[in-house]
Amino acid sequence: MKNVVGPVLLLAALALSQDWIVEQVDPTAAAASPVELVKAADGRLWACYRTAAGFMRAACLGDSGWSLTDICWGYVPTNVWRPFFAASPHGELCLSCVTGDSGWLFRLVGDSWQGEPYSFAARAMCGTVAYDTAGRLHTAFVDTAGDFCAGHETDSGWTAGFVARLSIEGPDHGDAACFTVAPDCRPWYFAYVWWMKPPQLWGEEASLMHFSGDSWTTVWN
Protein backbone atom coordinates (compact mmCIF):
# COMPACT_ATOMS: atom_id res chain seq x y z
CA MET A 1 0.00 0.00 0.00
CA LYS A 2 2.84 2.35 0.92
CA ASN A 3 4.31 1.89 -2.53
CA VAL A 4 1.13 3.30 -4.06
CA VAL A 5 0.84 6.45 -1.94
CA GLY A 6 3.89 8.18 -3.37
CA PRO A 7 2.97 7.95 -7.07
CA VAL A 8 -0.69 8.79 -6.35
CA LEU A 9 0.35 11.84 -4.39
CA LEU A 10 2.76 12.84 -7.13
CA LEU A 11 0.02 12.63 -9.77
CA ALA A 12 -2.34 14.62 -7.57
CA ALA A 13 0.31 17.26 -7.03
CA LEU A 14 1.01 17.64 -10.72
CA ALA A 15 -2.71 17.98 -11.45
CA LEU A 16 -3.54 20.43 -8.69
CA SER A 17 -0.38 22.37 -7.93
CA GLN A 18 -0.91 26.08 -7.31
CA ASP A 19 1.29 29.10 -6.80
CA TRP A 20 -0.85 30.50 -4.02
CA ILE A 21 -1.19 29.80 -0.34
CA VAL A 22 -4.66 30.92 0.69
CA GLU A 23 -5.41 31.16 4.40
CA GLN A 24 -8.06 32.62 6.63
CA VAL A 25 -6.73 35.58 8.59
CA ASP A 26 -9.71 36.28 10.81
CA PRO A 27 -13.04 34.41 10.79
CA THR A 28 -14.67 37.23 12.78
CA ALA A 29 -14.13 39.98 10.18
CA ALA A 30 -17.34 41.76 9.22
CA ALA A 31 -19.01 40.63 6.02
CA ALA A 32 -17.75 42.63 3.04
CA SER A 33 -15.63 44.87 5.24
CA PRO A 34 -13.44 47.43 3.50
CA VAL A 35 -9.81 46.41 3.94
CA GLU A 36 -6.47 48.17 3.48
CA LEU A 37 -3.09 46.44 3.36
CA VAL A 38 0.07 48.47 4.00
CA LYS A 39 3.76 47.73 4.41
CA ALA A 40 5.27 49.23 7.55
CA ALA A 41 8.74 50.70 7.73
CA ASP A 42 10.08 47.45 9.21
CA GLY A 43 8.70 45.49 6.24
CA ARG A 44 5.83 43.87 8.08
CA LEU A 45 2.42 43.89 6.42
CA TRP A 46 -0.62 45.25 8.23
CA ALA A 47 -4.24 44.80 7.22
CA CYS A 48 -6.99 46.94 8.71
CA TYR A 49 -10.68 46.07 8.58
CA ARG A 50 -13.84 45.91 10.68
CA THR A 51 -14.95 42.96 12.76
CA ALA A 52 -18.49 41.63 12.98
CA ALA A 53 -18.54 42.83 16.59
CA GLY A 54 -17.94 46.40 15.43
CA PHE A 55 -14.26 46.96 16.14
CA MET A 56 -11.69 48.32 13.75
CA ARG A 57 -8.94 45.73 13.89
CA ALA A 58 -5.34 45.58 12.68
CA ALA A 59 -3.81 42.27 11.59
CA CYS A 60 -0.03 42.14 11.41
CA LEU A 61 1.76 39.46 9.40
CA GLY A 62 4.88 38.36 11.23
CA ASP A 63 7.15 35.35 11.04
CA SER A 64 4.71 33.27 13.10
CA GLY A 65 1.62 34.32 11.17
CA TRP A 66 -1.07 36.93 11.70
CA SER A 67 -1.53 38.69 15.04
CA LEU A 68 -4.73 40.65 15.62
CA THR A 69 -5.24 43.85 17.62
CA ASP A 70 -8.45 45.78 18.17
CA ILE A 71 -7.87 49.50 17.67
CA CYS A 72 -11.25 50.98 18.56
CA TRP A 73 -14.96 50.48 18.26
CA GLY A 74 -15.85 52.17 15.01
CA TYR A 75 -16.37 51.89 11.32
CA VAL A 76 -15.32 53.26 7.97
CA PRO A 77 -18.35 55.02 6.52
CA THR A 78 -17.60 54.09 2.93
CA ASN A 79 -15.24 51.90 0.97
CA VAL A 80 -14.99 54.39 -1.87
CA TRP A 81 -12.82 56.91 0.00
CA ARG A 82 -9.36 55.41 0.24
CA PRO A 83 -7.03 54.85 1.94
CA PHE A 84 -8.34 54.85 5.51
CA PHE A 85 -5.14 53.21 6.82
CA ALA A 86 -1.56 54.26 6.14
CA ALA A 87 2.04 53.52 7.15
CA SER A 88 4.74 56.14 7.56
CA PRO A 89 8.38 55.59 6.59
CA HIS A 90 9.27 56.16 10.25
CA GLY A 91 7.23 53.31 11.71
CA GLU A 92 3.95 55.05 12.50
CA LEU A 93 0.60 53.65 11.36
CA CYS A 94 -2.61 55.65 11.16
CA LEU A 95 -6.27 54.69 10.92
CA SER A 96 -9.01 57.16 10.03
CA CYS A 97 -12.49 56.03 11.02
CA VAL A 98 -15.71 57.04 12.72
CA THR A 99 -16.02 56.18 16.38
CA GLY A 100 -18.94 57.36 18.45
CA ASP A 101 -20.56 59.85 16.12
CA SER A 102 -17.53 61.63 14.70
CA GLY A 103 -14.24 61.12 12.96
CA TRP A 104 -11.09 60.03 14.77
CA LEU A 105 -7.52 59.25 13.93
CA PHE A 106 -5.74 56.39 15.69
CA ARG A 107 -1.97 56.18 15.47
CA LEU A 108 0.28 53.32 16.43
CA VAL A 109 3.23 54.92 18.13
CA GLY A 110 5.58 52.34 19.57
CA ASP A 111 3.30 49.58 20.83
CA SER A 112 0.15 51.55 21.61
CA TRP A 113 -2.71 52.94 19.56
CA GLN A 114 -3.44 56.54 20.46
CA GLY A 115 -6.67 58.25 19.41
CA GLU A 116 -7.34 61.88 18.61
CA PRO A 117 -10.38 63.63 17.13
CA TYR A 118 -10.18 64.14 13.38
CA SER A 119 -9.27 67.81 13.01
CA PHE A 120 -11.82 68.39 10.25
CA ALA A 121 -14.66 66.50 11.90
CA ALA A 122 -16.81 69.66 11.79
CA ARG A 123 -16.50 69.70 7.99
CA ALA A 124 -16.49 65.98 7.20
CA MET A 125 -17.40 62.80 9.01
CA CYS A 126 -14.15 61.14 8.10
CA GLY A 127 -11.23 61.43 5.71
CA THR A 128 -8.48 59.49 4.02
CA VAL A 129 -4.91 59.35 5.35
CA ALA A 130 -1.51 59.12 3.65
CA TYR A 131 2.06 59.80 4.72
CA ASP A 132 4.70 61.55 2.66
CA THR A 133 8.30 60.35 2.55
CA ALA A 134 9.20 62.73 5.38
CA GLY A 135 6.63 61.05 7.61
CA ARG A 136 4.15 63.94 7.56
CA LEU A 137 0.51 62.89 7.66
CA HIS A 138 -1.86 64.15 4.96
CA THR A 139 -5.62 63.83 4.67
CA ALA A 140 -8.38 64.34 2.12
CA PHE A 141 -12.09 64.78 2.65
CA VAL A 142 -15.22 66.21 1.10
CA ASP A 143 -16.79 68.96 3.17
CA THR A 144 -20.45 69.68 3.84
CA ALA A 145 -20.60 71.99 0.80
CA GLY A 146 -19.43 69.14 -1.45
CA ASP A 147 -15.95 70.58 -2.00
CA PHE A 148 -13.02 68.22 -2.24
CA CYS A 149 -10.43 69.35 0.32
CA ALA A 150 -6.96 68.23 1.41
CA GLY A 151 -4.75 69.03 4.33
CA HIS A 152 -1.70 68.01 6.25
CA GLU A 153 -0.25 68.11 9.70
CA THR A 154 2.20 70.86 10.61
CA ASP A 155 4.28 71.52 13.68
CA SER A 156 1.48 73.70 15.01
CA GLY A 157 -1.46 71.50 14.06
CA TRP A 158 -3.49 70.73 10.98
CA THR A 159 -4.14 72.89 7.95
CA ALA A 160 -6.44 72.18 5.00
CA GLY A 161 -7.64 73.90 1.88
CA PHE A 162 -9.95 73.69 -1.07
CA VAL A 163 -8.91 71.38 -3.90
CA ALA A 164 -11.79 71.25 -6.35
CA ARG A 165 -15.53 71.32 -6.81
CA LEU A 166 -16.89 68.92 -9.39
CA SER A 167 -20.19 69.84 -10.97
CA ILE A 168 -23.24 68.01 -9.66
CA GLU A 169 -26.51 68.55 -11.49
CA GLY A 170 -29.02 66.77 -9.34
CA PRO A 171 -30.08 66.41 -5.73
CA ASP A 172 -29.40 62.68 -5.62
CA HIS A 173 -25.63 62.40 -5.79
CA GLY A 174 -22.54 60.80 -4.30
CA ASP A 175 -18.78 61.04 -4.31
CA ALA A 176 -15.68 58.88 -4.17
CA ALA A 177 -11.98 59.60 -4.02
CA CYS A 178 -8.55 58.07 -3.73
CA PHE A 179 -5.69 60.04 -2.26
CA THR A 180 -1.95 59.50 -1.90
CA VAL A 181 1.35 61.32 -1.64
CA ALA A 182 3.99 60.72 -4.30
CA PRO A 183 7.64 60.14 -3.33
CA ASP A 184 8.39 63.80 -4.16
CA CYS A 185 5.90 64.74 -1.38
CA ARG A 186 3.25 66.06 -3.79
CA PRO A 187 -0.27 64.97 -2.78
CA TRP A 188 -2.44 63.45 -5.51
CA TYR A 189 -6.21 63.34 -5.58
CA PHE A 190 -8.47 61.22 -7.79
CA ALA A 191 -11.97 62.61 -7.24
CA TYR A 192 -15.29 61.47 -8.64
CA VAL A 193 -18.93 62.54 -8.35
CA TRP A 194 -22.11 61.11 -9.76
CA TRP A 195 -25.71 62.27 -9.80
CA MET A 196 -29.00 60.62 -10.62
CA LYS A 197 -32.35 61.49 -12.01
CA PRO A 198 -34.06 58.39 -10.61
CA PRO A 199 -34.15 55.70 -11.61
CA GLN A 200 -31.00 56.14 -13.65
CA LEU A 201 -27.52 57.53 -13.38
CA TRP A 202 -27.67 60.90 -15.11
CA GLY A 203 -24.18 62.19 -15.02
CA GLU A 204 -20.71 61.89 -13.51
CA GLU A 205 -17.40 63.69 -13.43
CA ALA A 206 -13.90 62.65 -12.44
CA SER A 207 -10.61 64.47 -12.07
CA LEU A 208 -7.03 63.45 -11.33
CA MET A 209 -5.16 66.28 -9.66
CA HIS A 210 -1.88 66.94 -7.89
CA PHE A 211 -0.52 69.74 -5.77
CA SER A 212 2.18 71.60 -7.67
CA GLY A 213 3.60 73.60 -4.78
CA ASP A 214 1.18 76.51 -4.63
CA SER A 215 -1.99 75.20 -6.25
CA TRP A 216 -3.79 72.08 -7.37
CA THR A 217 -3.26 71.18 -11.01
CA THR A 218 -5.62 69.01 -13.00
CA VAL A 219 -3.85 66.20 -14.86
CA TRP A 220 -7.02 65.14 -16.62
CA ASN A 221 -10.78 65.26 -16.15
Partner: protein, 183 residues
Protein backbone atom coordinates in the same frame (compact mmCIF):
# COMPACT_ATOMS: atom_id res chain seq x y z
CA UNK B 1 -16.17 58.33 -16.65
CA UNK B 2 -13.59 56.47 -14.54
CA UNK B 3 -14.48 55.74 -10.93
CA UNK B 4 -11.39 55.74 -8.68
CA UNK B 5 -10.61 52.44 -6.97
CA UNK B 6 -6.97 52.85 -5.92
CA UNK B 7 -4.20 55.44 -6.12
CA UNK B 8 -0.65 54.66 -5.01
CA UNK B 9 2.84 56.16 -5.33
CA UNK B 10 4.77 55.06 -8.40
CA UNK B 11 8.24 56.40 -9.17
CA UNK B 12 8.01 60.17 -8.82
CA UNK B 13 4.34 60.11 -9.69
CA UNK B 14 1.36 57.85 -9.01
CA UNK B 15 -0.42 54.88 -10.48
CA UNK B 16 -4.14 54.31 -10.29
CA UNK B 17 -6.92 51.84 -10.88
CA UNK B 18 -10.31 52.97 -12.05
CA UNK B 19 -13.53 51.51 -13.27
CA UNK B 20 -15.37 52.77 -16.30
CA UNK B 21 -17.84 51.43 -18.84
CA UNK B 22 -17.56 47.92 -17.47
CA UNK B 23 -13.78 47.67 -17.66
CA UNK B 24 -11.05 47.84 -15.07
CA UNK B 25 -8.31 50.28 -16.03
CA UNK B 26 -4.79 50.52 -14.64
CA UNK B 27 -3.04 53.74 -15.61
CA UNK B 28 -5.59 54.08 -18.45
CA UNK B 29 -4.91 50.58 -19.82
CA UNK B 30 -7.76 48.08 -19.96
CA UNK B 31 -7.05 45.07 -17.75
CA UNK B 32 -10.36 43.19 -17.55
CA UNK B 33 -14.12 43.39 -17.88
CA UNK B 34 -15.84 43.82 -14.54
CA UNK B 35 -19.11 44.89 -12.97
CA UNK B 36 -19.81 48.47 -11.95
CA UNK B 37 -19.48 47.71 -8.24
CA UNK B 38 -16.10 45.97 -8.31
CA UNK B 39 -13.35 46.72 -5.82
CA UNK B 40 -9.61 46.65 -6.44
CA UNK B 41 -6.18 47.15 -4.95
CA UNK B 42 -2.93 48.21 -6.62
CA UNK B 43 0.78 47.96 -5.81
CA UNK B 44 4.05 48.13 -7.72
CA UNK B 45 7.11 45.95 -7.27
CA UNK B 46 10.56 47.46 -6.82
CA UNK B 47 11.00 46.78 -10.56
CA UNK B 48 7.88 48.86 -11.31
CA UNK B 49 5.73 45.90 -12.25
CA UNK B 50 2.08 46.80 -11.54
CA UNK B 51 0.20 44.28 -9.41
CA UNK B 52 -3.55 44.41 -9.40
CA UNK B 53 -6.12 42.48 -7.37
CA UNK B 54 -9.85 42.78 -7.71
CA UNK B 55 -13.18 41.18 -7.05
CA UNK B 56 -14.91 41.24 -10.41
CA UNK B 57 -18.37 42.01 -9.11
CA UNK B 58 -19.87 43.32 -5.90
CA UNK B 59 -21.62 40.06 -5.25
CA UNK B 60 -19.52 37.18 -4.06
CA UNK B 61 -16.90 36.16 -6.63
CA UNK B 62 -13.42 34.66 -6.74
CA UNK B 63 -10.80 37.44 -6.70
CA UNK B 64 -8.44 37.96 -9.59
CA UNK B 65 -4.79 38.92 -9.71
CA UNK B 66 -3.01 40.54 -12.66
CA UNK B 67 0.44 41.87 -13.36
CA UNK B 68 2.02 43.50 -16.37
CA UNK B 69 5.40 42.77 -17.88
CA UNK B 70 5.18 42.94 -21.67
CA UNK B 71 1.41 42.63 -21.35
CA UNK B 72 -1.22 42.09 -18.68
CA UNK B 73 -1.43 38.55 -17.35
CA UNK B 74 -4.42 37.54 -15.29
CA UNK B 75 -4.81 34.76 -12.72
CA UNK B 76 -7.87 33.74 -10.76
CA UNK B 77 -7.11 33.14 -7.09
CA UNK B 78 -7.87 29.68 -5.71
CA UNK B 79 -10.14 29.17 -2.76
CA UNK B 80 -12.55 31.61 -1.21
CA UNK B 81 -14.84 34.04 -2.95
CA UNK B 82 -14.41 37.69 -2.06
CA UNK B 83 -16.78 40.55 -1.44
CA UNK B 84 -16.53 44.13 -0.25
CA UNK B 85 -12.84 44.87 0.15
CA UNK B 86 -9.51 43.80 -1.34
CA UNK B 87 -5.96 45.11 -1.28
CA UNK B 88 -2.51 44.01 -2.44
CA UNK B 89 1.12 44.55 -1.38
CA UNK B 90 4.50 42.91 -1.69
CA UNK B 91 6.14 41.38 1.35
CA UNK B 92 9.75 41.85 2.38
CA UNK B 93 10.37 38.42 0.77
CA UNK B 94 8.94 39.80 -2.52
CA UNK B 95 5.87 37.63 -2.23
CA UNK B 96 2.62 39.01 -3.58
CA UNK B 97 0.15 39.31 -0.71
CA UNK B 98 -3.56 39.91 -1.24
CA UNK B 99 -6.11 40.32 1.54
CA UNK B 100 -9.82 40.27 0.85
CA UNK B 101 -13.13 40.27 2.65
CA UNK B 102 -15.86 37.70 2.17
CA UNK B 103 -19.60 37.64 2.67
CA UNK B 104 -19.58 35.52 5.80
CA UNK B 105 -16.26 33.69 6.05
CA UNK B 106 -14.12 36.45 7.50
CA UNK B 107 -10.91 37.97 6.14
CA UNK B 108 -8.63 35.92 3.88
CA UNK B 109 -5.11 36.22 2.60
CA UNK B 110 -3.54 34.83 -0.58
CA UNK B 111 0.24 34.67 -0.76
CA UNK B 112 1.92 33.98 -4.07
CA UNK B 113 5.60 33.19 -4.09
CA UNK B 114 6.46 32.91 -7.78
CA UNK B 115 3.36 34.35 -9.37
CA UNK B 116 5.24 36.90 -11.45
CA UNK B 117 6.91 34.12 -13.39
CA UNK B 118 5.78 34.45 -17.00
CA UNK B 119 4.25 31.30 -18.38
CA UNK B 120 2.79 31.59 -21.85
CA UNK B 121 -0.57 29.96 -22.49
CA UNK B 122 -1.86 29.02 -25.96
CA UNK B 123 -4.66 31.58 -25.85
CA UNK B 124 -6.84 33.45 -23.45
CA UNK B 125 -9.65 30.97 -24.07
CA UNK B 126 -7.64 27.76 -23.66
CA UNK B 127 -5.61 27.88 -20.48
CA UNK B 128 -3.84 24.87 -19.07
CA UNK B 129 -3.59 24.39 -15.31
CA UNK B 130 -0.70 26.24 -13.70
CA UNK B 131 1.72 23.45 -12.87
CA UNK B 132 4.71 25.45 -11.73
CA UNK B 133 6.05 24.80 -8.26
CA UNK B 134 6.05 27.29 -5.43
CA UNK B 135 9.65 28.16 -4.59
CA UNK B 136 10.31 29.05 -0.97
CA UNK B 137 13.47 30.65 0.27
CA UNK B 138 14.15 32.38 3.55
CA UNK B 139 13.35 31.32 7.06
CA UNK B 140 9.94 32.96 7.30
CA UNK B 141 8.62 31.27 4.18
CA UNK B 142 9.85 27.88 5.27
CA UNK B 143 8.42 28.38 8.77
CA UNK B 144 5.01 28.89 7.21
CA UNK B 145 5.18 25.34 5.93
CA UNK B 146 4.90 24.21 9.54
CA UNK B 147 1.15 24.85 9.41
CA UNK B 148 0.79 22.53 6.40
CA UNK B 149 0.85 18.77 5.95
CA UNK B 150 4.07 18.09 4.07
CA UNK B 151 5.16 14.98 2.14
CA UNK B 152 8.28 14.11 0.23
CA UNK B 153 8.18 12.53 -3.25
CA UNK B 154 7.80 9.04 -1.79
CA UNK B 155 4.75 10.01 0.21
CA UNK B 156 6.45 10.13 3.60
CA UNK B 157 5.36 12.80 6.07
CA UNK B 158 8.00 15.52 6.61
CA UNK B 159 8.00 17.77 9.68
CA UNK B 160 11.29 19.64 9.20
CA UNK B 161 11.68 20.59 5.54
CA UNK B 162 15.20 20.97 4.24
CA UNK B 163 16.20 21.91 0.71
CA UNK B 164 14.31 19.80 -1.82
CA UNK B 165 10.97 19.16 -3.49
CA UNK B 166 7.90 18.57 -1.33
CA UNK B 167 4.15 18.28 -1.70
CA UNK B 168 1.89 20.31 0.54
CA UNK B 169 -1.66 19.78 1.67
CA UNK B 170 -2.90 22.90 3.46
CA UNK B 171 -5.24 22.58 6.43
CA UNK B 172 -8.32 20.51 5.63
CA UNK B 173 -8.09 21.31 1.95
CA UNK B 174 -7.76 18.45 -0.50
CA UNK B 175 -5.64 20.57 -2.81
CA UNK B 176 -1.97 19.62 -3.07
CA UNK B 177 0.79 21.96 -4.17
CA UNK B 178 4.34 21.29 -5.26
CA UNK B 179 6.90 23.26 -3.25
CA UNK B 180 10.63 23.67 -3.75
CA UNK B 181 12.54 24.72 -0.66
CA UNK B 182 15.76 26.58 -1.41
CA UNK B 183 18.28 27.24 1.32
Amino acid sequence: MPIPLALVPRGDSVGYVSLGDGVLLCDSEVVASVADNSVAGLAYTAEDVPLLAWVPRGLSARPYFAFKTDRWRTRRLPGQTGMGGIDIETSSDNEVVIVFSTQGAGLWCAMGTDVLEVRETPSAEVRTPDRGPTVLSGASSVRRLASCVLFDATGRRVTVPRAGVYFVREGRSSEVRRVVVVR
